[in-house]
């Protein structure tokens, strides 16, 4: 247990970045110790992944067509899910932040439900709603011949379901923090409310939208439970990276570690981009 502190302690002071205003004041021990322990706890599994990675076999593992297929599918479906979330989620966030209708607080709570719902439960719920025999899905099937389960579109639906709340919450928070008077000024000057939204509000909250989009994208990329339940698992069609990792873990742990490294790299790249662009004041 004592050796746990070391990597955390080494990484601790560096995470402060350039703005260290209170560095001179020493942190009290009851806060410092658990804090460092928490950091070590969060970092240790990632370090272990790097330590145990089969570096020598990595090139052959990662150039296999299955891995590329899964990665490609993951990137495409996560991007599509983010696009869906943007198109539908930003208007929803605006409604929640700028309008007042009965039951608004309840709606807001319901929007956040997929955040706390176990993803597998979300997948079952999606099957019951949009499956071939689902409440809405049976009409999709009989009227348009569209069935979502076992298709790439189904993966996008499952990922959008779990990722959209991140975007909505993020954008709604930004909207609430943004001064509504700019919008009001625009409308008093003759702009319609939609024009005011498009020309004034949207540019104002763009950083918040971008941050929400990145978070939603990252969540969609890592989505497992809802995807395997709703869309199934077929290489090249619905087998995303997390599914490939899970199934590889059973009979080829080395392949699972290699796949995990790819996901880890992508996640770190996203978070680094997020931090540099949206989370530090310029």
């Amino acid at each position: 247990m004592t050796s746990l502190g070391k990597p955390g302690a080494a990484a601790g002071p560096r995470t402060g970045g350039p703005r260290r205003r209170r560095a001179s004041a020493r942190a009290p021990l009851p806060l410092l110790l658990p804090g460092v322990l928490a950091l070590a706890f969060l970092l240790l599994p990632l370090v272990a992944l790097l330590v145990r990675a089969p570096w020598r076999g990595l090139p052959t593992q990662l150039t296999s067509p299955e891995v590329w297929q899964a990665l490609q599918l993951s990137l495409i479906s996560a991007t599509a899910a983010t696009a869906v979330s943007l198109v539908l989620g930003v208007p929803l966030a605006w409604l929640l932040a700028r309008t007042d209708f009965p039951g608004r607080r309840l709606v807001r709570a319901l929007v956040t439900l997929p955040l706390v719902l176990p993803p597998v439960v979300g997948g079952v719920a999606l099957l019951l709603a949009l499956g071939r025999n689902g409440v809405v899905g049976q009409w999709l099937d009989s009227w348009f011949g569209i069935t979502l389960p076992f298709t790439t579109a189904g993966v996008v639906v499952a990922e959008a379901f779990v990722a959209m709340p991140f975007l909505v919450i993020s954008v709604e928070g930004t909207l609430r923090a943004a001064d509504p008077r700019y919008e009001e000024a625009a409308t008093t000057l003759g702009a319609s409310r939609f024009t005011a939204f498009r020309r004034v509000t949207l540019p104002l909250i763009a950083p918040g939208i971008a941050a929400g989009a990145v978070l939603a994208w990252a969540r969609a990329l890592g989505e497992f439970g809802a995807t395997i339940t709703f869309a199934g698992n077929f290489p090249g069609r619905t087998q995303t990276m997390p599914l490939a990792v899970y199934l590889a873990l059973q009979n080829d742990p080395e392949a699972a570690i290699s796949l995990s490294l790819v996901l880890l790299t992508v996640s770190i790249a996203v978070l680094a981009g997020l931090r540099d662009r949206w989370m530090t004041p310029s």
Binding site: D179, P207, F234
Partner: protein, 272 residues
């Protein structure tokens, strides 16, 4: 004033971002299953007590749950806690140190993972065998009458993943019939495959006879001759990492007894 509110906006944004990132990390990891109850070690040498943790193949769910209840009745003071999942997933968690007393696998191959890892406390014995069957929707609307019918275009078929015993057996049966089948999905265990038919998302699934029986009227079974070439042996073994060796031995005894075999036989399992 404006400058200040902009800065406040930024800070709120930053906080919101950090908060959501934390949430993200929380939910991202919550998907994978695998519950394991730590066995409390209170066993005395003569009378059985404490918790017995049994990791068993998903296909054993109904019959082992019934046997667990009988075991608790026979040995008051004991509690049997089950973890039903794909045999491969269970074997992987046992070799990673999951605290289980007994492992019942759906194939010798997945049991070998555990014995090769020196995690078994005795040699495994085959206690039942299981045969594959096709599960279709009630009334068999796709008119499936053979394994070959599953290869018809337009029919949505789900199989177990190759890494799971039921998937390996299905591939063996397909090979025996010289058939090539492209399913819509490779499911992570046999119950997941069965569920897709129960929910009417798939037209058919290749599962075990016992699963068709356990599903009651929710699916209709279709037997096929190729299944004779892909009969699965189910081995059971006590585990080294277990904390209740006496109860483990007694439970395996119950499973292999006439009483245990009766329960398993009623569920559709074949004698070893």
């Amino acid at each position: 004033m404006t400058n200040r509110s902009v800065r406040r906006t930024r800070r709120t944004l930053r906080l919101a971002g950090a908060g959501t990132a934390a949430l993200l990390a929380l939910t991202a990891c919550s998907s994978s299953g695998g519950s394991s109850t730590a066995a409390s070690d209170k066993s005395s040498s003569t009378k059985l007590s404490g918790t017995l943790t049994v990791f068993a193949a998903a296909s054993l769910k109904e019959s082992f749950t019934a046997l667990g209840r009988q075991f608790e009745k026979q040995h008051p003071g004991t509690r049997v806690s089950f973890n039903f999942a794909g045999s491969d997933a269970l074997a992987a968690s046992i070799t990673s140190g999951a605290p289980a007393d007994v492992f019942a696998a759906a194939s010798p191959k997945t049991m070998a993972v555990v014995t090769n890892g020196k995690d078994a406390a005795g040699s495994p014995v085959t206690f039942v065998r299981n045969r594959l069957e096709i599960a279709t929707m009630p009334g068999n609307p796709g008119h499936v009458s053979s394994l070959k019918d599953l290869t018809r275009p337009g029919l949505k078929v789900v199989l177990c993943d190759r890494s799971v015993p039921c998937g390996a057996a299905a591939q063996k049966a397909l090979a025996a019939g010289g058939l090539k089948l492209t399913p819509v999905s490779y499911e992570q265990d046999v119950k997941a495959a069965l569920n897709k038919v129960e929910l009417r998302e798939a037209d058919a699934a290749v599962v075990y006879t016992t699963d068709v029986k356990a599903a009651g009227g929710k699916v209709e079974g279709v037997e096929f001759p190729e299944s004779a070439d892909a009969i699965n042996d189910y081995p059971i073994a006590p585990l080294k990492n277990g904390q209740n060796a006496a109860a483990a031995k007694a439970f395996i005894g119950l499973v292999r007894s006439a009483q245990g075999q009766k329960v398993l036989g009623e569920a559709g399992f074949l004698e070893p």
